[in-house]
């Protein structure tokens, strides 16, 4: 084709271009008369997927682990941490206290000024309270600090030994406050309206004694005329302005900054009890015993349930899952404390890994937020209610289907009000004699279509 011919064909090409680039999309008007297969047929089926289930009690905080066990992080370490530590005083049933450990109290003015400390001022313990997870009465509430250190004892983590040291002779100090005082305090930049600061002044002589020993073991106890509980941010939380800290000023010279010493924790997976550098002590737990053969979640002393499930992979691989739920039949507890009040119950996933092994209690202890990257919806339940409760696990199925089938698949049922709400709904387990009330997976699905074939 000559250049002239090519030039003459340009208008033609322009027509083509304009025509080819125009689109119009308006599709609904002619359906369903002229559209095939616009209806979606939802089907429903149930599976007995629970192979093992059991309830475990004695939890005093929502343990979390990041990332999943066995998965490397940028530093090569995995982190174990818990977000909150509870202090609970319920005269008729529960007494939970805490032990904070400080192993590296500096004995000099500063890191660069090695002048030995001879006296301190402004000594105090800084705590951060989450009021949304606390039950603080309007009347006076007291937090007491005890020196529970005993350098002569090698193992200072044994609960009976530690509990015995909460004696009047070891009392360091106390602070009494009201709910109004707590509510009036805020922490700049905390970003959470429910976060409040709680500062407890410590006698300077006691602090100087700790400094001389380079370490402190401080026991925390809450007391009130009635019931009281507070949740303090745990030492393992990665936020230096929120964790428990000891503060003291080593010199009247204003150029020397006061020390703020946090509890130290080791950011590696550890099975040792001191992994958090803090320790919950349950001095009294006379909450109602669990009914035999039931699952439960929640309570001041937390109860959690573990269910090991077997996923019907072969079936799931052939369908489109629309909705999947773990249906649990609630066992009513009409006479339990607070039976009519709602408490939020949630599921989390747990997959046995090298850090935790396959011990179901440890699976329940460390709830894994990583595997729950898509947080499963929760249900708000009252302990007195009964009937089938459908916990949505549609997103969990996506995780399960992708995981190594040789790994055990576990579901942990826990209460979000653990340690500050006494309600503890119960459910029938797979061990119940009546098959109709056992846990089961209910799947709503559609069959896969070959849309390319009309």
């Amino acid at each position: 084709m000559s250049p002239r011919q090519l030039l003459r064909s340009l208008p033609f090409a322009a027509i083509l271009l304009v025509a080819a680039c125009s689109e119009s999309l308006d599709t609904t008007a002619n359906c369903p008369t002229l559209c095939t297969d616009t209806r979606v047929v939802f089907r429903d089926t149930t599976f007995d997927i629970v192979q093992f289930d059991s309830a475990y009690s004695g939890f005093t905080g929502v343990g979390e682990r990041w990332p999943a066990p066995g998965l490397p992080t940028g530093s090569g370490n995995s982190f174990l941490y818990e977000s909150y530590l509870p202090l609970i005083s319920r005269p008729d049933s529960v007494d939970v206290r805490q032990v904070l450990r400080f192993d590296t109290l500096p004995k000099t003015f500063s890191a660069s000024d090695t002048t030995p400390i001879t006296a301190v001022t402004g000594s105090r313990l800084l705590l951060v309270v989450d009021t949304s997870r606390s039950t603080i009465p309007a009347g006076p509430t007291t937090v007491s600090l005890y020196d529970i250190d005993d350098a002569t004892v090698t193992d200072d983590t044994l609960p009976p030994l530690l509990a015995a040291r909460f004696t009047p002779g070891r009392l360091i100090t106390q602070r009494t406050f009201t709910r109004a005082e707590i509510d009036a305090d805020t922490i700049n930049g905390s970003g959470r309206l429910s976060i409040r600061a709680l500062t407890i002044t410590i006698p300077d002589s006691a602090m100087f004694r700790f400094i001389q020993a380079r370490r402190a073991r401080i026991g925390l106890q809450i007391s009130s005329a009635g019931s009281a509980s507070i949740s303090i941010v745990a030492p393992s939380v990665n936020a230096s302005n929120l964790v428990p800290r000891l503060q003291y000023d080593p010199s009247p010279d204003t150029a020397i900054v006061p020390w703020g010493v946090a509890t130290r924790y080791t950011p590696v997976v550890s099975n040792a009890p001191e992994r958090f550098r803090a320790q919950s002590l349950v001095l009294r737990d006379i909450t109602p015993a669990l009914n035999a053969g039931t699952l439960a979640a929640g309570g001041l002393i937390g109860t959690r349930s573990v269910m090991t499930v077997r996923i019907p992979r072969a079936f799931l691989d052939t369908i489109n899952v629309v909705r999947a739920s773990l249906d649990l039949t609630q066992r009513p507890q009409r006479t339990a404390p607070g039976a009519r009040d709602g408490v939020r119950i949630r599921l989390r996933l747990g997959i046995a890994g090298p850090a935790l092994g396959s011990d179901p209690r440890r699976l329940a202890e460390f709830l894994d937020p990583t595997l729950e990257a898509v947080q499963l919806p929760s249900l708000r339940l009252a302990a007195a209610d009964s009937g089938v409760r459908s916990f949505d696990v549609g997103r969990a199925l996506t995780v399960w289907r992708a995981q190594d089938p040789s790994l055990a698949t576990n579901i942990i049922l826990y209460g979000e009000g653990e340690t500050f709400q006494e309600q503890r709904p119960e459910f029938y387990s797979r061990r119940d004699a009546n098959p109709a009330v056992r846990p089961r997976l209910r799947v709503t699905y559609t069959l896969r279509r070959e849309g390319a074939i009309p």
Partner: protein
């Protein structure tokens, strides 16, 4: 709604890839089953009611017509359609772009010719969005389904022709069926107001699927000119197996539709008057699917004329007119649709006879006997560019 899309531009740039691209569609009479058969007609043939299809060397119908190339040449066609479907008085308009025929002819001496062509046998491109309210367990939900279908079935023909006698030409061809349909459906389920949205999640249903076609057939054609002004042409295609592979995992088997057609052309005062009849056995495809709505054999009748127009610089302008009636192969609710077409066009010489631009405009009226509330009207523009060495 009209908008400019990159896809459309890409379609034009990829014109060498036969079939249809840059298309949008919806539920339409012409989009049932495996799609719409453009008819394997050139712009020239379509402008004359399909009648010159058996004589047109660029059309992939009659291999004997290859000798009409005279010299080596090539042909490319673009045929966008503006389609308005009316259902219960409500009209919806789409635009579909097609590149239905590409062909190359290569004469060897005076007696032989060979050609390769690719043409659209069936075209299926649409996008459909539907919403339905349903119940899942005890919850009321709304399901929004978006379906995108792209692709079609193409006929690649390798043909040869021979001049047996001055009045007799014969030809044969091998047909290879290729192509693919990709259909992607995404269904999003949302809970209606009042459902416990905080405690229930619904999965999104994604259903991608593809169907890859493969098949073969043989065709034979003849063109007889008992007198200088009278010609007869006929062709037949015999279909062998036709297979569709679904998602590269399973397959279905049927037969390529056979076809039988004949036409007559009478030259009167320089004008060509022609008539054509064609039958195509689409029911051979029943094994592939689409049986639910009906798969039917089709008949097509057409009459048309090509008249010399005024001479313009570089050659003779040709005026064309024609009408045709045909059935469509894929039914609506078990009823077979009909299509009536009426159109015309021009043949514009370009480059002093070395090339020709065919421009056509055809109005197609489609209906479904038994469904009075449904009708469809298509306005098919057609541009064919014919180049001779």
């Amino acid at each position: 709604m009209s908008r400019f899309t990159l896809r459309g531009c890409i379609a034009l740039g990829a014109a060498a890839v036969l079939g249809t691209t840059a298309v949008q569609g919806q539920g339409a009479i012409s989009l049932q089953g495996f799609g719409y058969p453009p008819g394997q007609l050139t712009t020239r043939a379509a402008s004359t009611g399909g009648t010159l299809g058996e004589f047109d060397q660029a059309a992939p119908l009659n291999p004997a017509a290859l000798l009409n190339w005279g010299v080596a040449g090539a042909y490319l066609q673009y045929s966008p359609e503006r389609r308005t479907t009316t259902l219960d008085g409500v009209a919806t308009t789409n635009t579909v772009a097609r590149f239905p025929v590409i062909s190359v002819g290569l004469p060897l001496g005076q007696r032989y010719a060979f050609g390769i062509s690719a043409s659209t046998l069936l075209e299926r491109n649409f996008s459909a969005t539907t919403t339905t309210r349903q119940r899942i367990r005890t919850d009321s939900v709304t399901t929004t389904s978006v379906t995108d279908a792209r692709g079609g079935m193409n006929d690649v023909r390798f043909a040869g022709a021979m001049q047996v006698r001055p009045w007799l030409r014969v030809g044969g061809a091998l047909h290879v069926i290729t192509g693919e349909n990709r259909v992607n459906t995404v269904r999003v389920i949302t809970a209606d107001t009042g459902v416990r949205a905080d405690s229930v999640t619904y999965g999104e249903i994604r259903e991608p699927s593809s169907a890859t076609f493969g098949g073969t057939g043989l065709s034979f054609g003849v063109e007889i000119s008992p007198t200088r002004k009278l010609s007869f042409a006929g062709s037949a295609r015999y279909g062998f197996g036709l297979r569709v592979d679904l998602n590269d995992t399973t397959s279905r088997n049927a037969d390529l539709p056979s076809r039988l057609g004949g036409a007559v052309r009478w030259e009167v005062g320089g004008a060509n008057l022609a008539a054509r009849y064609s039958w195509e056995g689409w029911t051979a495809m029943r094994g592939l699917g689409a049986e639910a709505s009906g798969v039917f054999d089709t008949r097509e009748y057409g009459i048309g004329a090509e008249v010399p127009g005024p001479k313009i610089r570089g050659g003779q302008l040709l005026l064309r007119i024609g009408a045709r009636r045909r059935d469509l192969p894929f039914g609506v609710g078990g009823l077979q649709p009909k299509e009536d077409g009426f159109g015309g066009g021009l043949g514009l010489p370009v480059g002093f006879g070395r090339a020709q631009l065919d421009v056509g405009l055809e109005s197609a009226s489609r209906s479904v006997p038994g469904l009075a509330n449904v009708s469809e009207r298509g306005l098919i523009m057609s541009f064919g560019f014919r180049l001779r060495t």
